[in-house]
């Protein structure tokens, strides 16, 4: 029953759900099929809760939260993008509410949203490029470490998209090889512990 909405999402063409917690389904996407999935989830009448980013060793993890007005359940899209080329397509053509969220991510992390109508600073001073939420190398943690249920897989190197991949990647992080192709895939399906403490 819980599964039904996840199945529905899958059936609509959102790539396979990778992780289900109580009422939450995470979909780890690659940045090029993000727009496709977002279009599908909009067709399923999900609303946008927020867009946020976080800084990991492997790259910036973009998290999109969607929920539905009538049905329970939260859909989470995760997109991992590289530090060197923090680019991701903007979903603001589908969800106009994302305009501000994406501007905020640009403020905090310097991520570039391609196709965004106006990427000017939203919350921070426009004169400086501060990116205050970027973490320094020491305090960065590994994405895998925190989300052990996910595992990064070497994406089959798409032949043309790799202008960013091979060349300049520095060996400093083990992550770079995954993010080299700009994406992580997460495989394992696992029920994390039921976390809703409110569940009576």
């Amino acid at each position: 029953m819980k599964q039904s909405w996840v199945d529905q999402l899958n059936a609509a063409g959102v790539p396979k759900c990778t992780e289900v917690r109580k009422g939450v389904a995470c979909f780890c996407l690659e940045s090029q099929n993000l727009l496709d999935s977002v279009r599908k989830i909009l067709e399923l009448e999900y609303y946008l809760q927020d867009v946020s980013a976080s800084d990991f060793q492997e790259g910036y993890l973009l998290t999109y939260h969607f929920a539905h007005f009538e049905e329970p359940g939260q859909a989470v899209f995760r997109v991992l993008i590289s530090h060197e080329h923090p680019q991701v397509p903007s979903i603001s053509s589908f969800y106009q509410g994302a305009i501000w969220h994406e501007q905020e991510c640009t403020d905090f992390y310097g991520i570039e949203f391609t196709g965004h109508p106006d990427l000017k600073p939203l919350l921070l001073v426009p004169e400086e490029n501060l990116c205050p939420l970027r973490k320094d190398a020491r305090s960065k943690k590994s994405f895998l470490d925190i989300f052990p249920d996910c595992k990064l897989v070497e994406a089959p190197p798409p032949p043309e998209s790799e202008e960013n991949a091979g060349g300049q990647e520095s060996p400093e992080e083990k992550a770079s090889k995954k993010k080299g192709s700009g994406k992580s895939k997460v495989q394992k399906e696992d029920d994390e512990t039921a976390q809703d403490s409110g569940q009576a």
């Binding site: 609303y47 809760q49 946020s52 939260h65 501000w100 106006d118 939420l133 470490d145 994390e192 409110g198």
Partner: protein, 386 residues
């Protein structure tokens, strides 16, 4: 002497950027950051043709405090105090959302009495928030007296909350696993009286304001937010319910013990400011009913779990604490790396999403309606800027 849009105008970054898209012979005007009707330091740049708004652009960030960064440098309990400061009008809902997120991470079981206490106080806080909104909205519309009545009643609720929380506005009352202080008999009696009292006040509000012809004409049919628009912008809370969607986390994904109470989710289908107004007025009534039911069935017991970890160190993972606040869905996304400090905290502020549609909804309306729409969205600026 006067600067019109087509002239070269000195201005800050946002004014210049806005001006670049201006048409000929229009008036560019800054509403805010110091403006009586933006309730705080919200700034909206407007392009006016006569009194009609051609274009509007909110400029944020005047009270930006980088709350999310603060979350990354403080320990879990230390960050609690920040939550009351995000949305100072419904501080307990933010408390709750954060506490819920951390409790999910810690897999803490909240004692039953604590849940009841949380429901009672949170609903009481919701009433105070709506009362303040009511007064301030009417102030926007030019009526001075309602805010005084609203404040007088709000004082009573805040006095009650002070009895147990010790503070009046920026509460820091919930804590991981429960609440910091138990209810006192004084509070319980006072709350019962307050509920009775509010039931006599709400009809008075209706007579004075809700039924008033002038108000009706001011709020009827303006600021139409369709369901589709609400979805695209992520509008939640009373604003969404004013668009005819019965979405309320207290009912849709009943957290805590909300499924034990019998209450309605008021929703109106007109999508305009009047619908949003009526939703909030009805919600106060429902909150009173929830409080009465909760007090009636308040169980005995502790308000903190028997054994609490000495140091809050949630395991690795993430959690999303969601709570229905007075303004909409409050979501706190916590990523834990297993240390005593959160790795990343993202605050989803409902006002942020609610305001983001203003540019679209304010096209072609009158300046006076813009004020009315802004008021009907019930914005709290510190929550938007975080």
């Amino acid at each position: 002497m006067l600067h019109y849009a087509h002239e070269q105008l000195q201005g800050d970054y946002y004014t210049r950027a806005f001006q670049a898209g201006a048409q000929e012979d229009t008036l560019i005007i800054n509403m805010g950051p110091q403006h009586p009707s933006t309730h705080g330091v919200l700034r909206i740049i407007l392009e006016l043709h006569g009194e009609y708004i051609l274009r509007a652009e909110p400029v944020l960030g005047y009270v930006h405090r980088m709350q999310e960064k603060m979350g990354e440098v403080k320990t879990y309990p230390q960050y609690l105090a920040n939550m009351g400061r995000v949305d100072y009008l419904h501080a307990l809902a933010w408390n709750w959302a954060y506490v819920r997120a951390v409790e999910q991470l810690l897999e803490l079981e909240v004692p039953e009495r604590a849940e009841y206490v949380r429901v009672i106080t949170c609903e009481l806080n919701r009433i105070t928030s709506h009362l303040l909104w009511w007064g301030a909205y009417l102030l926007d519309l030019g009526a001075f007296t309602p805010i005084m009545y609203g404040f007088a009643d709000r004082e009573r609720a805040m006095d009650l909350l002070q009895i147990i929380t010790g503070s009046r506005l920026t509460y820091c009352y919930y804590t991981f696993g429960g609440v910091t202080a138990d209810l006192t008999p004084q509070f319980i009696d006072g709350t019962k009286d307050f509920c009775k009292y509010m039931r006599t006040r709400l009809p008075m509000y209706k007579d004075l304001v809700t039924d008033n012809m002038i108000l009706r004409h001011r709020v009827d049919d303006i600021g139409i937010i369709s369901v589709d628009m609400a979805r695209r912008y992520g509008v939640t809370g009373p604003n969404l319910r004013g668009s005819g969607v019965e979405h309320d986390l207290r009912r849709n994904t009943p957290y805590s013990i909300y499924d034990r109470f019998d209450f309605e989710i008021p929703a109106y289908e007109e999508c305009d400011a009047l619908a949003r107004y009526l939703v909030r007025m009805d919600e106060m009534e429902q909150s009173i009913s929830i409080i009465e039911q909760a007090i009636q069935s308040l169980p005995e017991g502790p308000v903190m779990p028997p054994k609490m970890p000495k140091v809050i160190k949630p395991p690795k993972g993430e959690a999303y604490g969601e709570v229905e606040g007075a303004r909409g869905v409050i979501g706190i996304h916590v990523i834990s790396d297993g240390t005593a400090t959160p790795y990343r905290i993202k605050l989803r502020a409902p006002s942020f999403s609610n305001l983001s549609l203003f540019a679209e909804v304010s096209k072609g309306i009158l300046l006076a309606d813009a004020v009315s729409i802004l008021g009907s969205l019930d914005l709290v600026i510190p929550e938007i800027d975080r």
